[in-house]
């Protein structure tokens, strides 16, 4: 989880990713950010997030994103 927060904070230092759960709904992350995040996650966690998983529910908060990574890692 800390690694993920680091990735995110790198991108937007001004956002508190631990509490924010409207990252997509409030347009804090745009499509470019999402692509960067996915690339870094691929690097760090060795998990591929496929296009169909790019939905607001999975990206609205760091926690949801972390759950997604764990789920995909399990499969």
């Amino acid at each position: 989880m800390d690694e993920l927060l680091e990735i995110l904070t790198d991108l937007h230092p001004d956002v508190d990713f631990e509490t924010c759960d409207t990252l997509i709904d409030d347009k804090i992350l745009d499509s470019f950010d999402i692509v960067s995040i996915i690339a870094e996650i691929n690097d760090v966690f060795d998990v591929v997030i496929p296009a169909e998983e790019i939905i607001p529910e999975n990206f609205n908060s760091a926690e949801a994103l972390y759950d997604l990574i764990e789920r995909l890692g399990d499969e």
Binding site: K27, D30, S31, F32, I34, V35, S36, I38, A39, N42, D43, V48, I49, P50, A51, E52, I54, I55, E75
Partner: protein, 528 residues
């Protein structure tokens, strides 16, 4: 049948009356019948194309869902015996099967779209490679009305089923209605199956408020289309089709006129579409969110033609940017080109692909391709300048201040309007030349010489346009600040509410640019 024809109005009345008098369970079948009638009246041949798309989407989506079901069942049954790797391998195998079906469907439909829309474009370009005329004859190709829209909408559905996000529709007639729903057939919005289906197939009771909102929205659409856009069109045409005569400041005028005209035409058409659906209780996705109040290009593209933008993001941008090869490229470029550039490579490549296809999708001409790529370039540049902006904002504390926001909005509108001139002029070099002439041949006398009275607009027309502009701007500002204007009006006494609608109707009837233009000069005196 154009939205602005009498036939369409009559058709609409028929649909609406029919929709509320048939038993509720026949509402959606009735819409299917009317949608096919609508398409048939445009050209019976079109039905063939839409049937191919519908049937292929139907069969493939069912097939893919069966594979999904088979896969789940197999895994559930053999859960205990399968190792993790075996499970993975099995899944991959099944997925490959689905993938082949998806590809087949995409190839077929995108193929039809490409062949009908782009054959002559390709032929012309091949011919241009040969000096003194090429060897190929242009073909007489039928381009089915709205094919770009319904193909994209349907492919979105098929991809959703492939991704397991969407259950396949078992009733072919329901799917047929989703593909052909007549109000959105011509110019969108591009709906998602998951959003549209629940309201499209639901039974709708007549509800006075909903119907009046729908009618009001239709009227508002006609107001923008007939009173403003269609009145301006001749002037825009005159300006851009005579580039020798109208350069410099006139290009600027054409640019502003076209920005206003296109906005009113497109959003007006969409208002009519959404309004029609609304009168039947069906909710369509919004396609615009005050785009001309955007403070930067990226925001603009989140607010203009929204359903197209999200379609491209979900079905082209993401799949390309997170596919295996792209991730590998990303890794490689970060390792070899450094963190800064390396991170950008995948995003830029995917964006490039998106804007290239967006351009091609808009029309079979280099103008549109260049237009798409210009958007790409501008977005990338502004992306790169972002840190600079951030520092500027930090230093001068202008962010969120009204005058600065107005400046940002005007800058964005002007920039988008300038790029849009590729829509207008005959070819790409001419567009560059004309847009350039704004800077090199600017002459204020364009505004004072009276030349603007000779471009097909009379003083009275300008007056109407000015009033129209103020009304559109006023309602937009209201919407941006206070929210739904119609809800507010609905809270007023009913007489006021309906009175406003009636007034709008009368304004359209009198000030709309439609019908055989009355021109007393036609009555040449004493010719028999």
């Amino acid at each position: 049948m154009l939205f602005t024809s009498y036939e369409f109005i009559a058709f609409l009345v028929l649909v609406l009356v029919g929709y509320y008098i048939v038993p509720k369970k026949f509402q959606w079948p009735l819409l299917l019948v009317f949608s096919y009638v609508f398409y048939f009246l445009a050209d019976p041949m079109y039905l063939l194309f839409i049937l191919v798309t519908t049937i292929s989407a139907y069969l493939v989506s069912i097939k893919m869902e069966n594979i999904n079901a088979e896969m789940s069942a197999y895994i559930a049954e053999h859960k205990a015996e399968l190792s993790k790797d075996e499970k993975k391998a099995y899944k991959a195998k099944m997925k490959a099967g689905k993938w082949r079906w998806l590809l087949l469907c995409l190839f077929l439909n995108i193929g039809i779209l490409s062949v009908t829309k782009y054959t002559n474009f390709v032929i012309t370009n091949i011919n241009n490679l040969f000096a003194g005329g090429g060897p190929l004859q242009l073909v007489d190709m039928i381009v089915p009305m709205g094919i770009s829209f319904y193909t994209f909408q349907t492919m979105g559905y098929v991809i959703d089923v492939y991704r397991g996000k969407q259950e396949a529709q078992k009733n072919p007639f329901k799917l047929a209605l989703f593909v052909s729903f007549f109000p959105q057939l011509v110019q969108g919005p591009i709906s998602r199956y998951g959003d549209l289906a629940p309201t499209l197939f639901a039974e709708h009771k007549f509800d006075g408020k909903t119907v009046s909102f729908g009618l009001g929205r239709i009227l508002w659409g006609y107001f923008k289309k007939l009173v403003i856009a269609d009145r301006m069109l001749p002037a825009v045409t005159e300006l851009v089709q005579n580039p020798d005569e109208y350069s410099g400041a006139f290009v600027f005028v054409a640019m502003l006129f076209y920005a206003f005209e296109l906005y009113c035409d497109f959003t007006g058409g969409i208002d009519i579409t959404i309004g029609i659906a609304e009168t039947m209780g069906i909710r369509l996705a919004e396609n615009f969110n005050l785009p001309y109040f955007s403070k930067n290009i990226k925001e603009y593209w989140n607010r203009w033609h929204i359903t197209m933008g999200t379609w491209f993001t979900d079905y082209i941008f993401y799949p390309i940017s997170v596919c295996g090869p792209m991730l590998k490229l990303s890794k490689w470029s970060r390792a070899h080109l450094g963190e800064v550039i390396g991170k950008r490579v995948p995003v830029y490549l995917s964006s490039f692909a998106v804007w290239l296809t967006t351009g091609i999708w808009h029309g079979a001409a280099w103008n549109f391709i260049v237009w798409g790529l210009m958007n790409f370039v501008v977005i990338m540049i502004s992306q790169e300048l972002e840190p600079l902006y951030a520092r500027f904002h930090e230093r001068f504390k202008v962010r969120g201040k009204m005058p600065y926001e107005v400046f940002q909005i005007i800058r964005t509108v002007l920039l988008m309007s300038a790029i849009r001139m590729f829509d207008c002029y005959r070819d790409v070099p001419l567009t560059f030349k004309m847009v350039g002439s704004m800077f090199t041949q600017w002459d204020f006398s364009a505004f004072t010489s009276g030349a603007l009275m000779d471009i097909g607009l009379s003083g009275a027309d300008y007056l109407v346009l000015l009033a129209g502009l103020i009304i559109v701007l006023g309602t937009s500002i209201y919407k941006a600040r206070a929210g739904s204007l119609r809800e507010a009006l609905y809270q007023k006494p009913p007489f006021v509410y309906y009175g406003m609608m009636a007034a709008l109707f009368l304004v359209i009837i009198v000030f709309g640019a439609y019908g055989v233009g009355y021109d007393s000069s036609q009555f040449i005196y004493n010719q028999f």
